[in-house]
Symmetry: C2
Subunit: 356 residues, 2 copies
């Protein structure tokens, strides 16, 4: 049976008229498929205003939509961006996803997402699954442990790292200015009268981000001549909390200032403080990273180092697009872009928890 029979026949049946193909549109408009294709991708090879209008009319009338699979096959471009997130429970990740989604949509791209749940094996699996699916590029918020695989992927297609770097560092990275944010929080606490500062971290978190913040913290203390230390909580539940409890008690009355290295640590801090009693120890000041909704509420407002998630997302997609354009344009791989580290400034939200 020739194709004609399938398509042209709107004829009698009101029911599901077969999907239109570019051929059918071309026939209907009296042009060749090539011309319709040129119209769809508004290619430089211009066409008569009249031809354009005729094609547009037919497409409008028939509601034709080109099949992505066919397009992808020939052009080997999918307009898909793969996103691998380490921990979606972290509001930083959700905010990022929303930003990425918007930025990608603005460029006509869709997002393919995978969530590793901080499991390197899952991350590796996601990596190959997304690449196999044919994404044009990859955004990776790595949980660590896959540095070689990620570097290898970056050699095969555009990759931009989000927030967390890989070891050998030959890959683009977009992150916040952690050092300055740490300095900002230290300043807020010091200005509020804290004499001794602790940076609270988790044992399980050995990410570059944590390390960077810890280093910046140490540097900042010595620069200002302040006393303090990095306190690492044991993983999970009770033990970590009681260790924290001890820490706080140990310092009680000495104008202690605490910085939670991320939102989860801050929640554990809150828990520990609740165990200490109904009100904050005298003179205790606190601050945290990550601007979660409850930071506005707890302790009458917690001073926060807020990351500029929307801008980060925008720059990630922008950078990825640059790489994608280079790959699809350039013949050889000689003209590859040099890896770049992009820092997006965040800011400090001063709230009640560091008031004098």
């Amino acid at each position: 049976m020739p194709k004609m029979a399938q398509t042209a026949d709107n004829w009698e049946t009101g029911c599901a008229m077969a999907q239109m193909r570019i051929k059918d549109i071309a026939a209907e408009a009296g042009v060749s498929p090539a011309t319709v294709s040129r119209y769809l991708n508004n290619r430089p090879g211009q066409m008569t205003e009249e031809t354009r209008a005729r094609i547009a009319a037919v497409i409008e009338r028939t509601g034709y939509r080109p099949r992505a699979a066919a397009r992808n096959l020939r052009s080997s471009r999918t307009n898909l961006i793969g996103v691998i997130l380490a921990d979606i429970a972290n509001p930083f990740s959700s905010a990022m996803l929303e930003g990425l989604s918007a930025s990608a949509a603005a460029r006509g791209c869709s997002l393919m997402t995978a969530i590793s749940g901080n499991d390197p094996a899952k991350e590796a699996e996601s990596l190959t699954r997304l690449i196999d699916a044919g994404v044009d590029g990859l955004v990776v918020n790595t949980c660590g442990g896959n540095d070689e695989a990620i570097a290898a992927a970056a050699g095969r297609l555009p990759v931009v790292l989000l927030d967390r770097d890989v070891a050998d560092g030959g890959v683009d990275l977009v992150t916040s200015n952690n050092r300055e944010l740490v300095a900002g929080l230290v300043d807020a606490l010091a200005s509020a009268g804290s004499e001794r500062l602790c940076l609270l971290t988790e044992a399980s978190d050995d990410s570059p981000v944590r390390r960077e913040r810890a280093e910046a913290f140490a540097d900042e203390l010595s620069r200002r001549g302040l006393a303090g230390e990095v306190v690492t909580l044991a993983d999970g539940g009770v033990e970590g909390v009681s260790r924290l409890d001890e820490t706080i008690r140990g310092y009680a009355g000495k104008k202690l200032g605490l910085i939670a290295v991320n939102g989860l640590v801050f929640l554990r801090l809150t828990e520990a403080l609740a165990q200490l009693g109904p009100s904050l120890p005298a003179g205790l000041k606190i601050a945290t990273f990550d601007d979660y909704p409850w930071n506005h509420v707890l302790f009458g407002g917690v001073t926060t180092a807020a990351q500029n998630t929307l801008t980060i997302a925008e720059r990630v997609v922008e950078r990825l697009s640059e790489r994608i354009d280079v790959v699809t344009t350039t013949v050889g791989d000689a003209a590859k872009l040099a890896p770049k580290r992009i820092e997006i400034p965040g800011h400090i939200e001063h709230r009640a928890s560091t008031s004098r």
Copy 2:
């Protein structure tokens, strides 16, 4: 230039050996492309154990991966599931995304995500974008206002609604047993001695979920002969909070019990309570929907109606897979599955906020 030259020549260059095609694998293994294809999709048409092994060896050695675009084109199946979420900031959505991601991956599918941000226009745009991208099926957590478009989509491809229903209701829906959860919270408050109950809602939230919970609340009150009402907060910031403030003051001393209809309302409640003073009004009991991390912490633990997000996600994917299988198997659309409403039981976490 014949294809041979492109591929077989590993030869001298250590550099990027050209991508293998199924033809090349076939040639290398001494079989036809059709057979390799059968191997890849382990089709019923069996092959000799020896042939299978030979193909496996070649694929293993060359690291061949079939191009998804080509496969999609011929089979018109993408193994992609589209997900549209209304509000990713809501931890319910993040949890759901994680669950969907895991369930889909278990079936060899990837997720294409779009986030509407509760904007009907964006939701509509996402709908067409995902469909155009060729997803096999769609999971929609609708923000409302696109009921006809969603119903139309459900006529063209498998669609399962998540949590929120559409008006005419001809579409599969997976949701929690909201009525029983409401009853559970009412029971918790009543058992804690509350004499008068309020369900706190937001004006901007006119979702079926809110309505269902509000109705169940009213029913439950009358069933138990309890006094109470639904309190609708004005949208956003201060006004809503002060209205809430008034409500609480108005009832103060009367053994009031409050239920936040969702996590965001609960945050606003927390804010309002903080404005009232350092400690809870005497006899005030509270409870909320959505098991956010901070529910463990605030007020020493807040009694919560927790939804079983993992199970919901699993059932959503399962149901969608059923529909996808039907579509790709059945010739006509006569044998379509009847729309189904699936309720996943949640449970009540009893915490300090409703202790006697």
